[in-house]
């Protein structure tokens, strides 16, 4: 079992950096939200893989099963997922309003609009 090793952390880190990069660099406000979601998902993956116990199965009580994965990180991350959904919905609702008010969801275009006033 040497191959996976710290493999999951590599996945998490790569996803996290991709997400963070999109949030920082992209000028399109909708794509920023996509980046934010990728960033959050990396943390979800981090928590979920953290709870894995070697040889353990899904933490649902069943007959003849001795070893379960740790369910606590899963529960915690369920909360974080709900929060993530709320954040995304709120961000999109804000974007709809921004599109109504400014006629654009591009950061540069909005800034141009603002500076002309």
């Amino acid at each position: 079992m040497d191959f996976p090793g710290l493999f999951n952390y590599w996945v998490v880190m790569v996803l996290m950096m991709i997400g963070l990069y999109i949030v920082i660099s992209d000028r399109n406000l909708v794509k920023k939200i996509v980046g934010l979601n990728i960033f959050q998902v990396s943390v979800f993956v981090f928590y979920i893989t953290m709870g894995k116990v070697d040889g353990g199965t899904a933490p649902i009580i069943g007959e003849g099963i001795e070893v379960y994965s740790n369910p606590l990180p899963h529960v915690l991350i369920l909360t974080a997922i709900v929060v993530g959904i709320a954040t995304t919905a709120l961000a999109l609702a804000l974007l709809v309003r921004i599109q109504d008010e400014f006629g654009s969801v591009d950061e540069d275009a909005i800034q141009k609009l603002e500076s002309r006033q």
Binding site: A58, L78, V82, A93
Partner: protein, 138 residues
């Protein structure tokens, strides 16, 4: 419009099963995978499917946003209210042991009610979010 007859018929056939499945997930949550949040989402999915096929207006007739908003608040109140019962009977907040005669069935009842509150809130919130975004004029 009758040009999407397949979708209409399939939807009508599928809807009861979706709601049934949502209720199954809701009340089976203490034995298998599931719970209030998942059930709420599945329940909302059924309503969203209805809105997609039969239109937003008829969906809003079935579940008016005003009712959904009240449902949302009631869900939160149910959740918090179950905890208050604990306080009333002299135990800690969210202590379910006091809900029934023995601690075990008290826990069972408590978690059932709390999950029901969560389910109500989540399904209302999801449907409202869909109504909000789908109602945008283009």
């Amino acid at each position: 419009m009758h040009d999407h007859i397949i979708l209409r018929v399939i939807t009508k056939l599928l809807m009861p099963f979706i709601f049934l499945f949502a209720l199954y997930v809701q009340f089976h949550g203490d034995y298998g995978p599931g719970g209030g949040f998942q059930a709420g989402v599945i329940f909302a999915t059924g309503l969203i499917l209805y809105a997609l096929i039969f239109g937003l207006r008829s969906a809003k007739k079935v579940t008016p946003p005003r009712v959904l908003r009240v449902q949302l608040a009631l869900g939160v109140l149910l959740y918090a209210g179950v905890g208050v019962v604990g306080i009333m009977s002299g135990a800690e907040y969210l202590n379910y042991d006091v809900l029934a005669e023995d601690a075990h069935s008290g826990q069972h009842l408590g978690i059932l009610l709390v999950e029901l509150g969560v389910g109500l809130t989540v399904s209302a919130a999801m449907t409202l979010i869909f109504f909000l975004f789908a109602g945008q004029e283009q």
